[in-house]
Symmetry: C2
Subunit: 123 residues, 2 copies
DNA sequence: GTCTTGCTTTGATTACTGTCAAATTAGATG
DNA sequence: CATCTAATTTGACAGTAATCAAAGCAAGAC
């Protein structure tokens, strides 16, 4: 099985990943790991809150207030995002600060983009 | 709770959804429905295969061959994508053809995009 | 040292998801 | 009508995931 695997030598059709040439099973596997991580209302907002926060980073204590969830649950979501590579954490004294990994987010956007030939940038 | 809800009158900071101003809980809910739908290796490849296929559409029988999955499972994934609004189906005779809804995909890409002020286009 | 605060981990529960086999519907053809 | 192919629906099962309460860990204050 596994027909449409590697496709042509890159760039036969239009240029965009999703509309250019089909994703291989391997690529789809990688990307779906990232998508699964961010495909949750709480996690999507966490990434958004972190990215928008001044300095590009946010302390956990600044994030929990925005949700109806308990601290352990927020911590769980942050861990999922971190293990997927979408965010990074750093402890400074009592507080733990999170920041987004822009390159990984850019890769996601590039894969979903309808006509923008931008994927090669973040591979 | 639910602090960071509606934010400013659109477009205070940079421009991008995720890095400009934080997503509201409502927006995050909508977007995460789309992300959950596409956050699966099989569904991601299905969208890719459909989008790349000539004419922008593909028959189910042309899709099932690319997977190690049974026809009911493929049909299930297509249903999930369809109910999320990412693809549309049309029956023509014996065959059912699927095509992607580019606007919805564009919205996703815009939300994840790091610096591209493109979200307003597909709202 | 003891406390207090910030955050994470553990354990349990509940709910959802991906998958298949079997049955079903839809259309074309004989 | 019967039959064949294409696709979907149903029902069941195994695996995964979201959530919380309680316990644990880390760093600073006392």
């Amino acid at each position: 099985m596994r027909e449409v695997s590697v496709a042509g030598p890159a760039g036969e059709c239009c240029g965009s990943p999703l509309t250019g040439e089909p994703l291989s099973a391997a690529e789809a596997g990688e990307i779906s790991v990232l998508l699964k991580a961010i495909a949750d209302p709480a996690r999507l907002r966490l990434v958004s809150l972190i990215a928008c926060h001044e300095g590009g980073e946010a302390c956990v204590c600044e994030l929990t207030g925005a949700f109806d969830l308990t601290a352990p649950t927020i911590s769980h979501h942050l861990r999922v995002l971190r293990e997927a590579g979408l965010i990074s954490s750093e402890r400074r004294g009592t507080w733990v600060y999170y920041r987004t990994n822009q390159g990984v987010l850019a890769r996601l956007a590039a894969v979903l983009g309808p006509g923008v030939p931008a994927m090669a940038a973040s591979r």
